[in-house]
Point group: C2
Chain length 246, copies 2
């Protein structure tokens, strides 16, 4: 783990289906709710499939360049179909069940990431999956009770970028109860990040006063977050996960 | 991964703070949104702390028996405080930002699980964290923009339970697009699980017709899911993550 980095450029070498299958099978040892495995993985290898997904991920080049794109979905559909085939009355069309399935899907995703990186593969986690769920749902023909929560581009590394910074462990670990950070704590936690040459340069070329403003004014703005929140709730409703106010 | 199992019973041996800190630090290499690390971990070692958390986890005995309980939270508070200290205007009090932070928290959690199990520790993932968030928020004094999404009991294993079953990989991996399972697919996917002696016994003693009914009628009922959904949304509102309808 201490040497891992996100990889966005890949060689032309394909990923053998046997290797991918083995990693997905091993990742499925991850614990899940009631051992129900409330997730699905859509494997995109075709050029047409990647082209259809790319706009949903803001056309980031690794989506079409990677040999494999994985879209990991919260999936209560298979379990619901199983129940319907077995004289059982499923009730998983609600936000709590979505969170249960999203949890299963994300834990599974991260075990896959750890195993794949351990096997020498390079990965880029695309958080954009929940920004444009409707486009992904359409491209992958996801039915009700299936919702994309993560996407990964996977391939053999063609780059070795420098390690990125991390906050000190004391900034995110709390003993016994939550300790609200003071302004002095904040200075200590973020000093190294704010002093990085690339971050200073980022602030300068964007004509901002502070690094935090890069995040609040450019990368993750209130306006975008509120628009994407409405879109996300609407997509949850469309996929049948908002039927709970009885 | 192929030999991991959930561990619910632990020896009296403590977990050295140095070991726990090292594992948490290594787990923080996991990728996060904008490298913001939108999570916090509350470490509970005290008997009083565990006793306060136990009811939130339906008094499952491992909560008070384990040397350490970790509560992992989606945390946009530290980032928001940072922004406020740096003349930046944060807008992370909305459901999309909650999902971003929950994603970071869950991916971090699973890397920690993989590293801790690799170091010989035994873990039980408590999905109950999102069932009773209010009780956990109160016990750990979680402020606005901090929300518990996972809990783990951690200790040195005092048991080696048998490996649990998993669905065949073809049940959750789809090529290029989602393939809705047919009744024949369902029979094939669930045959091994339904034939397990412990599951047959479970169905018999509960006087049910099928294993699926154990899940829909007893373990995860529509009534409970709908109640817990309302409770979950209310807790998100209380923690300041539902302010987005502008």
């Amino acid at each position: 783990m201490t040497t891992r980095r996100t990889i966005r450029r890949y060689t032309a070498r394909d990923i053998e289906p046997e290797l991918l299958n083995r990693l997905l099978t091993e990742a499925s040892r991850t614990q899940t709710m009631g051992n129900l495995q409330l997730y699905s993985v859509i494997v995109t290898r075709s050029a047409e499939g990647k082209a259809a997904l790319a706009p949903a991920h803001f056309n980031q080049p690794m989506v079409t360049q990677a040999p494999v794109v994985l879209t990991i979905c919260a999936d209560f559909r298979r379990t619901t179909t199983w129940a319907r085939c077995r004289q059982a009355n499923p009730g998983y069309d609600n936000p709590l069940s979505f969170m249960n399935a999203a949890t299963d899907a994300l834990l599974f995703t991260q075990t896959f990431c750890n195993l794949a990186e351990d096997a020498g593969l390079g990965l880029c986690f695309l958080g954009t999956a929940i920004y444009n769920p409707q486009a992904i749902i359409k491209a992958l023909q996801l039915p009700q009770l299936v919702f994309p929560v993560a996407a990964l581009t996977v391939g053999w590394p063609a780059e070795e970028p420098p390690l990125t910074d991390r906050l000190p462990v004391e900034s995110f670990v709390h003993d016994e109860r939550y300790h609200d950070p003071t302004p002095e704590d904040i200075n200590r936690f973020y000093a190294a990040k704010e002093a990085l040459p690339e971050n200073l340069e980022f602030v300068r070329i964007n004509k901002k006063e502070t690094l935090a403003q890069i995040f609040t004014d450019i990368r993750y703005t209130r306006k975008d977050n509120e628009f994407l929140s409405r879109n996300f709730i609407e997509a949850l409703r469309q996929q049948g996960f908002m039927d709970y106010e009885h």
